[in-house]
């Protein structure tokens, strides 16, 4: 693409903030670490200097009140963005997210909506352990009323953030520190309607369907490249919008390939991969499956700290590739 701007995933997020703050006076951002260089990577550098500390608010250590204030400010006509630099700490804010933001529209008969955007960062690895590593997107995808967004690409990091903030509904936008070094040349910004966004095919093949979201999509893409060299061609579907989840593309792909491997950076039980397997088993025509659908997820255990255990814990390009070959051979992953 000519005339585009080179971004990495982190600066793409920052460019979305700049766009929103420039264009919409009702946008403001609050959360912990926003005036600090080390909380949110390169995604918010110097926004406070450019747009002022009235609009870029580094808050007290109060996740619940801060998130609730975002919910209330949205009801009052603002477009707040609440930042949680690490998803684990956001659990203090569950009432504001799950009881208030998610339910407001329905509770009041669709007459008001809390258009707050809650940005949650998955920040794991590096021997950080159980309370500094969680990827809880499936929890939030379980809640009617929340839109849950996970950008896997540089373009989506920017464009889905803008779409989230422009959306009248509450959105949980989840980005992943493991993606921050991805780079791409981006075209000029065009606003998108989040209600019209959904899963996207990011690689086309015929032997097997890989489905992921966020960093899992990146793993699937890398594994698909390796598998291609081994003569296996894969559809790779990036979920992008986890809730409400549009099943159409996944069903179409699995009906074609007859084989499914869902990859997820969350836990197995009641997780996002389980949802993908469920919707396929409900919708794909009988006889269309050539192999048992499978899921590659975190094991059902908290994140370890020790490096050796971490390597076992997280899916990798290698483990995705191995799992894909097992599925193709008709085996199971257990």
């Amino acid at each position: 693409m000519s005339g585009g701007v080179i971004h990495n995933y982190g600066t793409a997020i920052r460019s979305a903030f700049e766009y929103l703050l420039d264009r919409y006076p009702e946008v403001f951002i609050l959360g912990q670490g926003l005036w600090s260089p080390w909380y949110v990577g390169n995604t918010m550098t110097d926004l406070d200097k450019r747009f002022g500390r009235d609009r870029i608010i580094d808050t007290p250590v109060s996740e619940l009140a801060t998130t609730g204030a975002g919910v209330g400010a949205a009801l009052a006509g603002m477009r707040p963005i609440v930042i949680h630099p690490r998803m684990d700490f956001m659990l203090y804010a569950m009432d504001a997210i799950v009881n208030q933001a998610a339910k407001w529209s329905h509770m009041v008969g669709g007459q008001a909506h809390s258009g707050v955007t809650i940005r949650a960062i998955i920040n794991r690895g590096g021997e950080q352990g159980a309370q500094h590593s969680q990827a809880l997107h499936a929890w939030f995808a379980h809640i009617p009323g929340l839109r849950v967004v996970m950008p896997a690409t540089v373009a989506d990091a920017r464009d889905l953030l803008i779409a989230s903030v422009c959306c009248p509904d509450p959105v949980v936008y989840i980005d992943d520190r493991w993606l921050y070094e991805l780079t791409a040349e981006l075209p000029p910004i065009e606003e998108r309607d989040l209600a019209l966004e959904g899963p996207r095919m990011v690689n086309e093949g015929s032997d097997l369907t890989l489905v992921g979201s966020g960093f899992s999509t990146e793993l699937a893409l890398r594994a698909a490249r390796q598998l291609a060299e081994e003569g296996v061609s894969c559809d790779v579907i990036d979920l992008r919008v986890l809730n409400p989840l549009d099943p159409g593309l996944i069903v179409k792909s699995v009906t074609k390939t007859g084989r499914l491997l869902a990859i997820d950076g969350g836990w197995r039980t009641c997780g996002m991969a389980a949802e993908v397997l469920a919707l396929v088993s409900e919708r794909v025509p009988p006889g269309a499956l050539g192999a048992r659908p499978a899921r590659l997820t975190l094991p059902d255990a908290p994140a370890p700290t020790s490096r050796v255990l971490e390597e076992l814990y997280y899916p990798s390009v290698r483990s995705v590739r191995d799992a894909a070959l097992k599925v193709l051979a008709g085996g199971t992953l257990d």
């Binding site: 403001f28 009235d54 609009r55 608010i57 808050t59 007290p60 109060s62 619940l64 009140a65 801060t66 998130t67 609730g68 204030a69 975002g70 919910v71 209330g72 400010a73 949205a74 009801l75 009052a76 006509g77 603002m78 707040p80 009432d95 504001a96 009881n99 208030q100 407001w104 529209s105 329905h106 509770m107 009041v108 008969g109 669709g110 007459q111 008001a112 909506h113 258009g115 009617p144 009323g145 839109r147 959306c167 009248p168 509904d169 309607d193 209600a195 019209l196 959904g198 409400p244 549009d246």
Partner: protein
């Protein structure tokens, strides 16, 4: 300034403060308007209690009979562009702003014409055109939301304020402490109104907190506060006028503790004198003698502003209005079945 060991003293003693209100200096029209508003709220809630007892209302109703003076006194200084947030016991908060009795009844009956279009019932009320942004039954759930609304006003530089109604139980939630601190640090234009009726659902405040005065938390967060007899509408209004004025001038958040008592139990029509500790029939009787409505009415009769005949006429008109509103609400349509899914998001996915 209220210190951390501040106690309510006489304000929490139902044998005190039973005298007629001091109404000198308040405009007669204002007094009549307060009296009518309190009477209306009480009769509406008495009607709801009766209908719940008869089983006509399907869901729980949390009634605030005996607490009417708080919402009426505070609302005197609010306009429809202000942003009021309530909790589980919020009928009075809504009605005192001018909310529709029919809209409330239709909501409690789950009808499409209800204030929340039949999706909320008694515990999830919405009347934004009158400044009532919403109430929810999660204790303290709306307190941070009100801070955010008050922050929005500050960021926009408009004079509107938000009001957070909460109870003495809610201050035990961590989110309230966070919210007080956040409001103070960010200069949110919010008035916290604690209706301290001395009880959480079933436990007296003496069993839950080391002091019976919640205003000590305002002091801890350097927020200006006043503590008043919540059964004295003149006192509530006086404090509200001062505090609302401060907030509108951009002098930061404020905190009003209004000491009151609910005549009925936590939920529905019963008095609940057999649950909890220190809620005795004797206390309930004493608090009924400290009636915010009767104390105002007696003072107005003495001043020649009100009479038994006026009371009978006002009550009779309200009875007619309530019966008519209830009759219409009970005949109103139910929400369509599409409401179940159509109201989850502003727009359903894939549709414009």
């Amino acid at each position: 300034m209220i210190g951390p060991l501040h106690m309510l003293g006489d304000l929490a003693d139902p044998s005190k403060h039973q005298e007629d209100l001091e109404i000198e200096g308040v405009a007669p029209d204002t007094l009549v308007s307060w009296l009518r508003s309190m009477l209306s709220i009480r009769m509406v809630e008495q009607h709801l209690a009766a209908m719940r007892r008869e089983g006509v209302i399907g869901g729980p109703v949390h009634l605030g009979i005996g607490q009417e003076a708080v919402a009426v006194g505070v609302s005197e200084f609010l306009s429809p562009s202000d942003m009021v947030f309530g909790a589980h016991r919020s009928h009075a908060h809504l009605l005192a702003l001018g909310g529709s009795i029919h809209g409330l009844f239709a909501e409690v009956l789950g009808r499409d014409t209800g204030l929340s279009r039949g999706m909320g019932g008694s515990m999830h009320l919405w009347d934004q055109p009158n400044g009532f942004y919403g109430s929810v039954p999660i204790v303290a759930g709306t307190v941070p939301l009100a801070v955010g609304a008050g922050l929005a006003s500050k960021l926009r530089g408009d004079p509107n304020i938000s009001v957070s109604y909460l109870g003495d139980g809610a201050v035990e939630e961590g989110g309230v402490q966070e919210s007080l601190n956040l409001a103070r640090v960010l200069g949110a234009r919010v008035l916290f109104v604690v209706e301290n009726n001395l009880f959480s659902s079933h436990m007296h405040i003496s069993l839950r907190q080391p002091s019976d005065s919640t205003a000590r938390f305002a002091a801890a967060h350097d927020i200006t506060s006043e503590v008043v007899d919540g059964n004295d509408v003149v006192a509530v209004a006086g404090a509200a006028e001062r505090l609302v004025g401060r907030i509108r001038r951009g002098e930061g958040p404020a905190f009003l503790e209004a000491v009151t008592y609910r005549w009925l139990g936590h939920v529905d029509w019963r008095e609940d004198i057999d649950v909890g500790v220190a809620r005795s029939a004797v206390d309930v009787a004493l608090w009924k003698a400290r009636d915010p409505l009767a104390r105002l009415e007696r003072a107005m009769v003495t001043a020649g502003l009100w009479s038994g005949e006026m009371r009978r006429k006002a009550a009779s008109e309200l009875e007619t209005e309530i019966a008519s509103a209830w009759g219409r609400a009970a005949a109103d349509p139910w929400p369509p079945s599409s409401a179940l899914l159509d109201r989850v998001y502003a727009r359903r996915a894939g549709s414009r």
